[in-house]
């Protein structure tokens, strides 16, 4: 089930020392001396060095932040854009776009940093140089002639095939959750408290991994504001979002009985039976879901938000305190969504991919310190006392991952 996981973790070790910076993936270029203002674009095609057209983009401020290329046309083929921020404090990013699609870019630009570059291979046509924060923000860039055919599939093709594989993975997780929830129901029906607790812990992780895809799913025929038809409520409601009209339901109703009262009664059995039935409905729903690349990106970010807002705070598993097991499952779900986008994302922004992989490794390391094989779920119980001791380190590690992760949706959404 963690096919992609191993691939990502393997890369993580190799790139741990790197971080996304303005220069990380750039050709080494020395800083040019600060010139007063950007030169006006020369006529004709950009000069070619070693078969690569060279375009220099200079960012300056002369009352407003300006972004200027020394050539605005180039012959089809590989083109290197070398970007230097001389004095434009509001410009942090330069991209080459075709319509809204990002073909290449440089981030983390600021005055004083050495020049950095990116190279793209372009066919004849009209493109846009987009300078985030400049006035004007966009300017035309023209490529003449025709480039050789692309040697491999386009970025969009890679992303879309990753998306289809992800959909299959989600269905697999839902089906495994069905099995685990049925086991939970059987254990509860037998009245065995210890066995029921173990079954609860086992079933939880599947939901937490795919939570972002099914969150708020409303069954056909129900209004959006009616929790009776909201599978996310029926399966994963908590005391804090209790809707009196519908009442306790799902995993956390079972959790409350098993841990808080420590008793299995008829109500518990009813909760478990309803949970089993609702998860069966969810499996049907999940089989119909289709995704776009940006759905995976937004989902990966949403799972991290979930970690930051509900797991580290200890709100999710109020009675069993297995929040760290949910934490690991949310992170795993986020990692899977990212991993299926990774081959395409590499083509758009390899440095960002490296950074995210490194940040995942960082989060893994932070939560691994809290492993405890003797505890249910495999991590120390997330009690008030343990939270006070460890939550800051976890929170900061997750924040470090959230920051680069927020950037991928716009990139994959606009990929060509």
């Amino acid at each position: 089930m963690s096919r992609k996981f191993r691939g990502v973790a393997g890369v993580a070790v190799a790139v741990l020392a790197l971080s996304t910076t303005a220069c990380a993936s750039s050709a080494p270029t020395t800083a040019t001396s600060a010139t007063a203002s950007a030169p006006a674009a020369a006529g004709g095609n950009a000069p070619v060095t070693n078969g690569v057209a060279q375009v220099k983009v200079t960012l300056t401020n002369d009352g407003g932040d300006k972004c200027a290329a020394d050539y605005t046309t180039a012959a089809a083929g590989p083109i290197t854009f070398t970007v230097e921020n001389i004095s434009a404090s509001a410009i942090t990013e330069v991209e080459l776009q075709s319509e809204l699609k990002i073909l290449g870019e440089k981030e983390n630009l600021a005055p004083g940093l050495p020049a950095s570059s990116f190279t793209v291979t372009l066919d004849g046509g009209r493109y846009t140089l987009y300078c985030l924060g400049a006035t004007p923000e966009t300017q035309a860039f023209t490529v003449t002639g025709q480039a050789a055919a692309a040697p491999s599939g386009s970025t969009a093709t890679l992303l879309n095939s990753g998306v289809k594989e992800y959909a299959t993975w989600v269905v697999g997780q839902a089906e495994e959750m069905q099995t685990a929830v049925t086991n939970l129901r059987t254990a509860i029906d037998s009245g065995d408290l210890a066995k029921s607790k173990t079954a609860y812990v086992n079933a939880r992780t599947f939901y937490e991994k795919i939570e972002s895809d099914v969150e708020g799913f409303v069954m056909p025929g129900f209004k959006v504001d009616d929790n009776k038809g909201n599978l996310d409520y029926l399966i994963d409601m908590r005391a804090s979002n209790l809707d009196e009209k519908v009442g306790w339901s799902g995993f956390h109703a079972v959790e409350r009985d098993l841990w808080k009262s420590g008793r299995i009664n008829d109500a518990t059995k009813k909760y478990a039976a309803d949970l089993d039935a609702n998860v069966a409905k969810l499996v049907v729903v999940v089989r119909t879901l289709t995704y776009k690349p940006e759905d995976l990106a937004n989902g990966a970010a949403a799972l991290l938000e979930e970690v930051q807002s509900n797991k580290i705070t200890g709100e999710e598993e109020e009675f069993s305190h297995i929040d760290l097991s949910d934490f690991a499952a949310n992170v795993e779900g986020s990692r899977q969504a990212f991993a299926y986008l990774q081959p395409g994302l590499e083509k758009i922004d390899a440095a960002l991919v490296k950074n995210i992989v490194a940040q995942f490794a960082n989060v893994d390391a932070a939560v691994s310190k809290l492993r405890d094989s003797a505890s249910p779920g495999g991590y120390i119980p997330w009690t008030e006392q343990n939270r006070a001791k460890h939550r800051k380190a976890l929170s900061q590690a997750v924040l470090g991952l959230q920051e680069p992760m927020q950037k991928i949706a716009e990139k994959v959404a606009t990929a060509q």
């Binding site: 971080s19 509001a90 005055p111 900061q396 716009e410």
Partner: protein, 454 residues
Amino acid sequence: MTEESNGLPQFVAPEPASRPGSEPSGGSGSEPTRPAPSVSRRGLFAGAAGTAVAGAAVGVGVTAGVMGHQERGAASQPGASGTDTVDLTRSLPFYDQAHQAGIRTPPQRHCVYMTFNLTKDATRQSLQVLLARWSAAISQLVQGKPIGPIEPSRPDAVGTDTGEANGLAPASLTITVGLGPGVFDDRFGLESKRPALLAELPRIPSDVLQPELTGGDLSIQACADDPQVAYHAVRNLARMVTSTAQTHWVVLGFGRASAGPGQETPRNLMGFKDGTRNVSTEADYEQFVWLKDADWMTGGTYQVARKIMMTIETWDFDRTSDQQQIFGRTKHEGAPLTGQKEFDVPDFTLRADGGQHVIDQSSHIALVAPENNAGVKILRRSYNFTDGLNAQGLLDAGLLFLSYQNVPQHFVDLQNKLGRFDLLNEYIRHVGSAIFAVPPAPRSGRYIGQELFE
């Protein structure tokens, strides 16, 4: 923590009702003002209001000081009819100054002070990017501009600026960046660049420092006359670097508690004037604050931050005569107990009929007075803060003590004396502490600390 650095009494002039350009006079290090830039956040209102700039000086400007001055009483203040006005349209320059702003700048009303630790994955290169991006962002923020798009044109993009200062004037925002001792350890290959006197502070008597409020690799002091402008600045600087630097501790200062040049002396939460004898003359800044012949740190200084809790309720139950004995000054006027007026020179030798000193030798002002410390002065730029209520339901508040000095040992020597003998120790606890080197301001097109990487 209050009082006494300056050898001579000074007449503190009231600030004029509108004070564009009312900077410390004659200083080469003073920051000239300039009109709010045309594309400022405030500028967004200009079209509708028509007279936004003039309106701000009159309409917005008069707020904070008025009530305080009436309560202090007109007779006791030199020129008390003057009001301590705030001009929210005022913008201070960032590039091409001799020193970073926020040190000599007359203290603004509010301050957010935050420290950061570099992550274990931080590299020399990511530190370089952090300082460059902070510098670029600061130059935007001090002009009242967002650091980048608030509403990105591209679908699914996250805004660069968080937007809550959109429409607010620059409010004299200054952002002062400090580099802690950790920047110069073996992680970044910067050992040879370590500022000569930068080292962790030694343990000082009476310190009850909490690890979560102590130390840090980087500091940001963001002060402004509008608290939302200061908070927005720190929030946006923190969010752009999360994978390189993590937040460590923060203090939200809500009222200045040290006078700058030309300002009336404000009060700390104990109700006493703070900073009557603060560093204020050009000569004092040159002698005690700015670093000279210090390689890349020339024009810089050292920042000491201390979070000092006050046992407020207990202090408030103390009889005023005892409070005055503890400080060595009167509460209302702020005069030394041997004088009549705030700026009378204290006479530490004067004895009462019974033979005891009129100003107790363990009083706060006696311990730190320059005449009792070989003439040493430090610049204090403190703020009052509150964290709400503590676990006992008592007021959780105190002083964010910030000092600037070219020799950190000057602070250590003074605080060693205070920690051992100060009568005030019964009512205060030093719970947080850190030291940072504050580089000079960058020239245009460069960033703070760029010399470290050249």
